[in-house]
């Protein structure tokens, strides 16, 4: 993997890269298929995977930095900034402010669901908006929200905070959350694709999970650093995580992860895995490392294929398109790559 000529083979042969000049905070493929990246200089960049060599659009979305980024509910992208704004960027780069959520306040988390729901958190508050951008409700938490996630159906939204996470029914008349308690500070959060488990990443270099059926706790520890990325495989059998010097994947079947050891992929270089993204269908994980290496690892076989060589800064954003044919990544130095992995 240290041979950069071969490590960059996929990026060179089947991809394109750009130096965008600012920290890549987040990336996502929009529901109509474009790649969007939210950057530390406040811009949103948009690439068309059907014409990767063409010009990437630059949209001035925020005055400051983009802090949170996702695909919007129908098309285009949603971003939150340190200017306190929640902004939608259309596929053609047109920018619309959906809400101004406070002065000197940061919009730290955003999420959207294809039902039209949008969510944005500012401090302890989680604001929900409908497809037209009208505010539905504001859900308040005991402390600042560290991460948010919709379930697959868009019926529930989960928010992590200090001493646990809150699980809310979006359509409920009475806004009373189910409180998932566990002492400590919780940040990144994920709901399993079948909606049965909630997992958070904690300040203490460990994950915590709750099986919703019976409230059973799951403790997954042993990480040398904080986990920032949690990603379930398409059918939810595995949870891939960053934060170790390998890609740590936990089994969510056969009674796991309780009492089961995780599988470690692509380790051994002593470099921390900084980002993971599971393929939307296959049991394959894309992983980015602190030295800039990007690779694909197949969970069943442990087989590893390099995508991009180290050297452009720690991987801070990583994601697949819905069809699983394109993978994109971004780094803290502002380097971004888009690779076509479809059968030819």
């Amino acid at each position: 993997m240290s041979d950069s000529d071969t490590a960059d083979f996929l990026l060179d042969a089947r991809g394109t890269s750009r130096d965008l000049g600012a920290y890549v905070v987040g990336l996502s493929f929009s529901r109509e298929g474009r790649l969007g990246l939210g950057l530390g200089d406040g811009t949103v960049r948009i690439a068309d995977p059907r014409d990767p060599q063409g010009d990437w659009i630059t949209a001035a979305a925020h005055d400051g930095a983009v802090l949170s980024f996702c695909a919007d509910a129908a098309d285009g992208f949603l971003s939150g900034g340190d200017d306190g704004r929640l902004v939608r960027t259309a596929p053609d780069g047109a920018v619309t402010e959906l809400a101004q959520l406070g002065t000197m306040k940061w919009v730290e988390q955003v999420a959207a669901h294809d039902s039209g729901l949008r969510a944005a958190s500012v401090g302890k508050q989680l604001h929900l908006f409908d497809a037209k951008g009208a505010k539905l409700k504001t859900l308040v938490h005991p402390s600042s929200v560290g991460g948010i996630a919709f379930d697959a159906k868009g019926k529930r939204v989960a928010a992590s905070h200090y001493n646990g996470a809150s699980l809310w029914f979006v359509g409920s008349k009475e806004d009373k959350p189910r409180l998932l308690e566990w002492k400590g500070s919780h940040a990144a959060i994920a709901i399993s694709p079948d909606g049965t488990h909630v997992v958070t990443a904690m300040q203490e270099n460990a994950l915590h999970g709750w099986r919703l059926a019976d409230g059973q706790h799951m403790r997954m520890s042993g990480y040398p650093s904080k986990t920032h990325f949690l990603s379930f495989t398409g059918r939810g059998r595995w949870l891939a995580t960053s934060g170790a010097d390998s890609v740590v994947v936990w089994p969510f079947f056969g009674g796991g992860p309780m009492g089961k050891a995780p599988t470690e992929l692509a380790g051994g270089d002593g470099v921390l895995c900084s980002a993971v993204a599971c393929h939307p269908q296959h049991e394959v994980v894309a992983a980015g490392f602190a030295d800039g290496l990007v690779l694909l690892a197949e969970i069943g076989s442990g087989k590893v294929v390099p995508v991009a060589a180290p050297g452009h800064g720690s991987i801070t954003a990583l994601g697949w398109n819905a069809g699983g044919t394109h993978l994109a990544f971004g780094t803290e130095q502002g380097f971004a790559g888009l690779v076509d992995l479809s059968k030819r």
């Binding site: 920290y23 530390g40 000197m104 600042s144 650093s225």
Partner: protein, 324 residues
């Protein structure tokens, strides 16, 4: 990431009305060509004029790492993570705390969180005090005392409101709590920016560089406050294993009462000096270069804390000397 890329962070503490925000605005408005990101709290009295101001909630979290007094500022961890996304747009970070804030969680955030530690370094804790009202504050507020105990630089402000005798008495009270802080007298928080910014007070290389100032007859004088400081010196070389064992045990059992600890040690059979510091239970230490010619080879340790048992601490430190 190399040390030079770490962004310096200055923490501004001080009781309500002491002149903190005036100092902050002075730092920001002075023509120094530097850009700062400023983290303020939502109850600030005065406006702050700066491009990059973040309103923080002062959320203090316990870390479950087996250390009972390890609290950190959760909001600060998130804010520093966010600021790193616009790296290169500013030269330093200034964190202003509320008047009632305990400085420990702020300081500990810079040692306990690895992401924060990688991106930033704590430059100094600057405490602004009101020369006229400090004696009263010390009587009725635990926080006022802690803010002095934690300080590297103390701005003795509102000097226009006190006589020289009153000022000297306030300085005596400050010294009884904190022997190493540099005291700067000021009126309307008017001090040169380099008196408070770029101090590298937490740099191990500069630990106890200034001779701590203890009051004469320190053992006898009555204390107005619970917080006190003690210092010990030994001339025989220190056994690193004994010192580590003693310090580990001491911080574990007494860390809640030990606010700040600093030491310079001369180890047996080593021609380098070892510097050591701790904020409550969180310790940090490293070799800081060779012993210099004419160096008296005296190992020294200074504690600031509550209920310090002087004879016990002295025996403990003396017991760390190497045999023979």
């Amino acid at each position: 990431m190399s040390e030079t890329t770490q962004i310096p962070v200055t923490v501004l503490t001080g009781y309500l009305g002491a002149g903190k925000t005036t100092l902050l605005n002075r730092i920001l408005s002075e023509n120094h060509g530097k850009k700062f990101a400023v983290v303020i709290n939502e109850f600030g009295e005065l406006g702050v004029d700066n491009d990059l101001v973040v309103d923080a909630d002062e959320e203090v979290f316990e870390m479950n790492n087996g250390c009972i007094c390890c609290t950190v500022r959760g909001d600060l961890i998130r804010i520093i993570g966010g600021l790193m996304k616009r790296r290169g747009k500013f030269d330093g970070i200034i964190v202003e705390t509320t008047g009632l804030a305990d400085p420990a969680p702020v300081a500990q955030t810079f040692f306990a969180d690895e992401d924060v530690k990688r991106a930033t370094r704590l430059d100094a804790i600057v405490t602004v005090v009101d020369a006229k009202n400090l004696p009263a504050r010390l009587k009725d507020s635990k926080e006022a005392e802690e803010q002095i105990a934690f300080a590297d630089i103390i701005l003795l402000n509102k000097m226009d409101l006190v006589t020289e005798d009153e000022a000297a008495e306030v300085e005596r009270k400050i010294r009884a709590i904190n022997p190493w802080a540099e005291i700067r007298r000021s009126t309307k928080s008017a001090v040169p920016i380099d008196a408070v910014i770029g101090r590298e007070a937490f740099d191990l290389k500069r630990i106890l560089e200034r001779e701590p100032e203890f009051l004469s007859g320190e053992d006898d004088h009555e204390h107005d406050s619970e917080v006190m400081s003690v210092s010990f010196e030994v001339s025989k070389p220190v056994d690193p294993e004994k010192f580590n064992a003693w310090m580990t045990q001491l911080l574990a059992s007494k860390g809640q009462d030990l606010l700040r600890t600093k030491g310079i040690l001369y180890y047996a059979n080593d021609d380098r000096r070892f510097a050591f510091q701790a904020v409550h239970m969180i310790a940090d230490g490293d070799f800081i270069g060779p012993v210099r010619d004419g160096d008296p080879h005296k190992s020294k340790i200074v504690f600031i804390g509550r209920d310090l048992n002087r004879p016990q601490l002295r025996r403990g430190f003396e017991g760390c000397q190497a045999e023979g």
